[in-house]
Amino acid sequence: MQTEIPKLGRASAAFALAAAVACVFNTALAFAKDARTPLNNLMASLTGHQWITHGLADCIVFVGLGLIFMKTSAANQIDPNRLRSILIWAVVAASLGLWAWFLLF
């Protein structure tokens, strides 16, 4: 008899995947604006400060993708343990990536 693996709730799974993507997006945007002054200036011009634009962009990615994944049930197709690993590794890679970037460049 095969035991069924319990699934995460629809919202929980969707926003877990969205959080993983948003964390990686956050670090990628930090790299990009640090390397490209025009992007930094553009972000500053949008809200008055690049940091505010960065935070808003992260929130939009997290909430927007979370709602999309919830509607499409895309995240629910992924094994819950795999989804958890994706989130953990996304956070670890994004965090260490920030430290490495500002240490080395």
Binding site: S12, F15, A16, C23, H49, F62, P80, R84, L87, I88
Partner: protein, 155 residues
């Protein structure tokens, strides 16, 4: 005694950041032995973590945008320029990761953790990541503050 609004904002920022970390730790401990009767406590603690993180984020952001430039100039002239170049630059972006996780936590605890091992492991992982990144951000804040002090002591 002369405490300016600038000081109050900075201290409140650190206090709300610490509160968010403590609330996440509370969720972690509750989730270790999740029971139906602990569900509402856990949901409240997760909400406290998210709201405190939003407050820390807003206050810290206001302080960073309006007041940090003078501290930055002091740090960069002192013997600890890495307090800005490494610690502040990393902190100002790492805090977004802690924030995203804190905003996710109240969603994750809506599942029935006592009956769903996968949901319980997810909450344990997210709460622990919040605690670890929150402590890192708090520590970076201490290094930045020390960077200003060391620069001023150096003259």
């Amino acid at each position: 005694m002369n405490i300016t609004s600038r000081d109050i904002i900075l201290l409140a920022h650190a206090a709300f950041g610490s509160l968010a970390g403590l609330a996440a730790l509370w969720v972690f401990i509750e989730a270790l032995n999740a029971r139906p009767e602990s569900a509402s406590r856990m949901r409240n603690a997760a909400l406290v973590a998210a709201i405190s993180m939003a407050a820390a984020w807003t206050l810290g952001g206001y302080w960073y945008v309006h007041f940090y430039s003078s501290d930055k100039a002091i740090i960069l002239k002192g013997p600890w320029p890495f307090a800005h170049d490494l610690f502040m630059e990393t902190k100002e972006h790492l805090v977004f990761i802690t924030g995203i996780l804190a905003f996710y936590l109240p969603i994750a605890v809506r599942d029935e953790l006592h009956a769903n091992a996968a949901a319980r492991k997810m909450v344990l992982s997210v709460a622990l990541l919040i605690v670890l990144t929150d402590l890192t951000v708090e520590g970076a804040g201490a290094v930045i503050a020390r960077g200003v002090t060391v620069a001023l002591q150096h003259g």
